[in-house]
């Protein structure tokens, strides 16, 4: 039996959907001009940029969403299953700050940081996918004529990750214009646009703006992704009490309305194109005005939003395993491990956020390896308790009698690796006086260094690399022209 946790009753989910459909009619949803014509030809009333979308159209669009799909690795193997109760994790994304392990200060993130994160995540089986984890401020500085303009920062990050990883990638574009370059890059890696369609390597996050607003950029993005057939992941992020109703149920309802609207825009443009019911909902901190990602209520929101998506039979995503602490400390560990467990028990298909501190403002690669241990524990937990043989215990007692010599049994040797998660030395189980540093941060630093030193960069064919470079150069030129 797979252990699971459920916050919402089926009745409450139906009520959430009922009210979400009501919201889509009144007050309606703000939409970008790019999607107005398409909505109108589907019979939707759009006035002053506000669309009133009827439940029947939404239901019709929901029916064409694939119930599941896969992301593939570079070798063409299925590596991430979006659908059912399968749970995967990827590092958090789009930080601009990196925690310096020497000074413990946050500094601007650079290309070398992104490479290091990718190298570490590549080695850890806990991460089924990579993410474009940090913004490379060195490469996209803007003033430097040699640097890529910041307008292609999204493309550049993907370029870096593709060169260093074979895993699937969770990414996203910063502008409507930037998306095509990213898709071209992925197609060059896959071999052809057709191959990329058949075996997608990446999923693109696309965000509405709370409350109930699909901006020009977001609308455009949905449209382009649907037409390209590239998997999209809606990341609706209501802040309960700030940009959404203060009650968790109210925020889940807003999330549902925003996501249903997004799915409608998307499926109208490309019926059958893969899309994920995702989100990064959080509560609104009534002292700081921030979004506390480590709060248990934030985890509850993510769980409840995913439950609504699962009720509709859709692939799901959430933002967990992050902390509000500015350091990699006990708070960071407690908050991240807790939400990793909760997300896994909910059966969320893709859980983003590992490695992040300071409420998503900063990334720590040391935290990433610690989070990997929490994730491994969560993954172990959801495997549940399995029956290892014909009998539970009597057959083994038949061999040992009362001697207690279980360590010698062939069953022990055969089964302990699947019964127990064997942690890396990041987790200290040694006796006092051992050589391991008593501080987990120090152990994490050592682990990061080890993983990086063992890392081997994938060898990409010369012609693929040349195609990559040509696309980046082309997009940089385009962005420079646009900036003039």
């Amino acid at each position: 039996m797979r252990p699971r946790i459920q916050l919402l009753s089926p009745e409450l989910i139906e009520r959430i959907l009922r009210e979400a459909f009501e919201l889509l009619m009144n007050p309606g949803v703000r939409v970008g001009s790019a999607v107005v014509e398409q909505l109108q030809s589907a019979g939707v009333e759009v006035h002053d940029g506000v669309a009133r979308i009827h439940e029947s159209l939404v239901r019709q669009c929901l029916a064409s969403v694939p119930r599941d799909f896969y992301l593939y690795n570079r070798q063409g193997e299925k590596a991430v299953h979006y659908g059912g109760d399968d749970v995967h994790f990827d590092p958090g994304s789009c930080c601009v700050q990196m925690l310096d392990p020497e000074t413990l200060e946050a500094r601007s993130s650079e290309t070398r940081d992104l490479v290091r994160i990718v190298q570490v995540a590549e080695a850890l089986p806990q991460f089924a996918a990579q993410s474009t984890a940090v913004v490379c401020t060195d490469a996209v500085a803007g003033n430097d004529k040699e640097a890529a303009p910041s307008a292609i920062g999204d493309l550049y990050r993907l370029f870096v990750v593709l060169q260093h990883s074979d895993k699937p990638i969770v990414t996203g574009s910063f502008s409507a214009a930037g998306l095509q370059g990213m898709i071209d890059l992925l197609a060059a890696d896959s071999g052809s646009p057709e191959k990329l369609r058949q075996q997608p390597r990446a999923v693109f996050d696309v965000c509405p703006s709370p409350p109930l607003n699909w901006s020009e950029f977001g609308s455009h993005n949905l449209l382009d992704l649907a037409r390209a057939g590239a998997p999209a992941e809606i990341v609706s992020m209501p802040l309960a009490g700030g940009t959404a109703p203060v009650t968790l149920a109210g925020s889940v309802t807003q999330h549902a309305a925003e996501t249903l609207a997004g799915i409608t825009l998307h499926q109208l443009a490309g019926p059958g194109s893969p899309i994920v019911w995702g989100g990064a909902p959080a509560i609104f901190d009534m002292r700081t005005g921030g979004a506390p990602m480590g709060a248990v209520e934030t985890a509850m929101l993510n769980m409840a939003c995913a439950e609504v998506g699962k009720h509709l039979g859709l692939p799901t995503h959430g933002y967990l395993v992050a902390t509000d602490s500015k350091f990699v400390d006990a708070q960071a560990g407690a908050e991240s491990a807790r939400s990793a467990m909760l997300g896994a028990l909910t059966g969320i298909n893709m859980i983003s956020g590992a490695g992040m501190i300071e409420s998503l403002a900063c990334f720590s690669v040391e935290k990433l390896v610690i989070d990997a241990e929490s994730i491994a524990s969560a993954q172990r937990l959801v495997r549940g308790i399995e029956v290892g043989g014909e009998t539970l215990a009597t057959a083994m007692f038949a061999q040992t009698g009362l001697s207690g010599e279980f360590l010698k049994l062939k069953e022990t040797r055969a089964l302990f690796r699947q019964e127990q998660h064997i942690p890396s030395p990041v987790i200290d189980r040694s006796a006092r006086g051992s050589e391991l540093p008593s501080d987990i941060f120090k152990r994490a630093r050592t682990r990061v260094d080890e993983l990086v030193s063992k890392y081997r960069k994938p060898t990409l064919p010369e012609d693929v690399l040349r195609k990559f470079q040509a696309i980046v150069a082309r997009e940089a030129d385009r962005a420079r022209m646009a900036a003039r």
Partner: protein
């Protein structure tokens, strides 16, 4: 009697009760209390108290917003009489606010506007996704003391830099002070782009604005 009335005024602000605050303002006018005194000895004390309570964690943002609403209600009752008497409450300073180009997230900016306005600053709110040119034009038009640019997204933070550069190009600084805020903004970023200040939240923004005004006055 006024002492008791002032006490009730303070309480109406702390309670975040706009109806009560307006009623007390009308009562003050009926009793012939100087409206400016009603503000300075009653309502404004309440706002300061609320700010302090927020600062020490006893009050929260929704409480603070309610206090600001109550303040607004009281001022709108008293304002016509103040105008008549020519005893307009002197603005602490003129502040132009907006979110950076491309950024439509205005919750933080709105909080700052509310808190500064309730505390006596005159606010010119340009709304969301404001271009550097719009910031410059408004700053010139109203002869602003402070320009505040908010950016939530890491991708729109560059817009803050663009505003500061535009203010510089137009020769408006250092007289006009530029301040920035937003979830991803840090003091380091503020220093990097040459901002005159940054704050983590709306109450700190009030302190920042006040201190910048005292510097402005000292220079003048």
């Amino acid at each position: 009697m006024p002492d008791q009335l002032f006490g009730a005024m303070l309480q109406s602000i702390v309670d975040g009760a706009p109806d009560k605050a307006a009623e007390l303002a009308r009562q003050a006018l009926a009793e012939g209390v100087d409206p400016l005194e009603a503000v300075n000895c009653g309502f404004a004390v309440g706002i300061t108290f609320a700010g302090d309570q927020f600062g020490c964690g006893q009050m929260f943002l929704p409480d603070l917003l309610a206090s600001a609403e109550a303040m607004k209600a009281a001022i709108s009752v008293l304002e016509p009489e103040m105008l008549k008497r020519g005893s307009q409450r002197e603005a602490l300073g003129k502040v132009v606010l907006g979110t950076a180009r491309g950024d439509i997230h205005d919750i933080g900016k709105n909080l700052v506007a509310t808190i500064l306005s309730a505390s006596g600053f005159q606010i010119f709110d340009l709304g969301t996704s404001v271009t550097p040119e719009q910031f410059v034009a408004k700053t010139k038009e109203v002869d602003a003391d402070i320009v505040g640019v908010s950016a939530l997204l890491t991708t729109t933070m560059a817009g803050q830099k663009a505003v500061i550069e535009a203010l510089d190009r137009n020769g408006l600084r250092p007289r006009v002070k530029a301040i920035i805020g937003g979830a991803a903004v840090t003091s380091k970023w503020a220093a990097e782009i040459g901002a005159d200040g940054y704050s983590r939240n709306a109450i700190d923004a009030l302190e920042l604005a006040k201190s910048l005004m005292s510097k402005t006055t000292a220079h003048a």
